[in-house]
Amino acid sequence: MASLRDIRKRIASVKNTQKITKAMKMVAAAKLRRAEEAIKSGRPFSEKMREVMMSLAARTQAHQMLESRPPQKALLILVTADRGLCGAFNTNLQRRAEAFLKETKAKSIQVDLLTVGRKGNDYFRRRQVTIVEKFNNVMNSISYDLAGRIVSIVTEKFLAGEYQEVYVLYNSFRSAVAQIITLRKLLPIAPDEEGWKPRRAYLYEPSEEELLQELLPRYVQVQVFTGLLDSVASEHGARMSAMEAATTNAGEMIQKLTLKLNRKRQESITTELMEIVGGAEALKG
């Protein structure tokens, strides 16, 4: 049975934990706001890019990055967080990735991984998957340049014929409390029906083919970049709600422990009183 002192210690420790989780929640909330801002300011760029890309691609169909071939090997870009303590954020991604590996295995497609974020790498490093490249501890400093580095690795391998398909798996941001796991085919670039319409006549400088050649990798880069931004915002959102829950739980625990402590204290007072009374009775007798 726990003594009075043990319970007091316990309460003090839970209170400390509660302070930490509360602080983490506030930090996550602040970071979330910034991440949301980044998503919003990145949107005009990616939308315009998409618009121009689509109109170009509609005119000149022939490019290796647009052609689909029967897949034998595929590459999955897995975007996770660098740190834990954000609820099921990473676990859900890992589970989805596992499921994806199983699906493709059934179709006898071999899948290799490229991990962004430490957690995904930690998880798959000990499993029977090839990790072709890893980017650890980068989620704090997401940049357009980073997306470029990832994409240049991927496109090079794709164009060399090493992989026939490239996917990206990440948590996309809906709201602070809702993250949606998104699996998207990055390469070959799938023609999107609605966006696939030719636009007004342009003067092209240099030629259309050359433009397309240059534009396609950039388009992929933008897609990866938005994926990364989404993932960062989702991570902070997930951490915020996880820490919120932890703070509430700690509060509940403190309440229960305090109740227990009080009961215990009264009990011991009662016992002491009984003893005194008993002693007095004995003396009288």
Binding site: G42, R200, A201, E205, P206
Partner: protein, 137 residues
């Protein structure tokens, strides 16, 4: 006074510039070009360099990274990887960056890794443009 048209300068970090101007001069891959209102629709690449626009007899300059530019009859949209105003550039910092980038460039094998090489080259061009713009102030 020349007729005005809309120009937008957009980077992945957000919209840098969105206003009505009289003239735009941009560094295209086929050479620098100027745009006035009523230009033929055109699509071209931008190479790292100095982008400027004219508004009430004054040129305002930006350092831009690689990207592309869509010219329409009454608007110009420039999408670039980065853009900096003259005020935001610290010359000493830019020189240091240039030194660092040049060192990095030497370590990249141009034949083996052409994409990376070109990327590094572009960043050097941006740094150089920054220095020249900061020097002009």
């Amino acid at each position: 006074m020349a007729e005005k048209f809309k120009v937008e300068l957009i980077t992945p970090r957000g919209i840098v510039l969105d206003r009505m101007v009289e003239e735009v001069i941009a560094p295209g891959v086929m050479g620098e070009f100027g745009v006035l209102s009523g230009h033929t629709p055109m699509l071209t690449f931008i190479k790292p360099g100095i982008f400027s626009y004219l508004e009430s007899d004054r040129f305002v300059k930006y350092v831009v990274g690689a990207g592309f530019c869509e010219v329409l009859k009454d608007s110009v949209t420039v999408l670039v990887e980065e853009a900096h105003t003259a005020e935001s550039i610290d010359k000493a910092e830019a020189s240091q960056e240039l030194l660092k980038l040049e060192k990095e460039l030497l370590e990249i094998d141009a034949l083996e890794n052409s994409v990376q090489y070109e990327r590094a080259l572009n960043r050097i061009k941006v740094a150089k443009a920054k220095i020249s713009l900061a020097g002009g102030n």
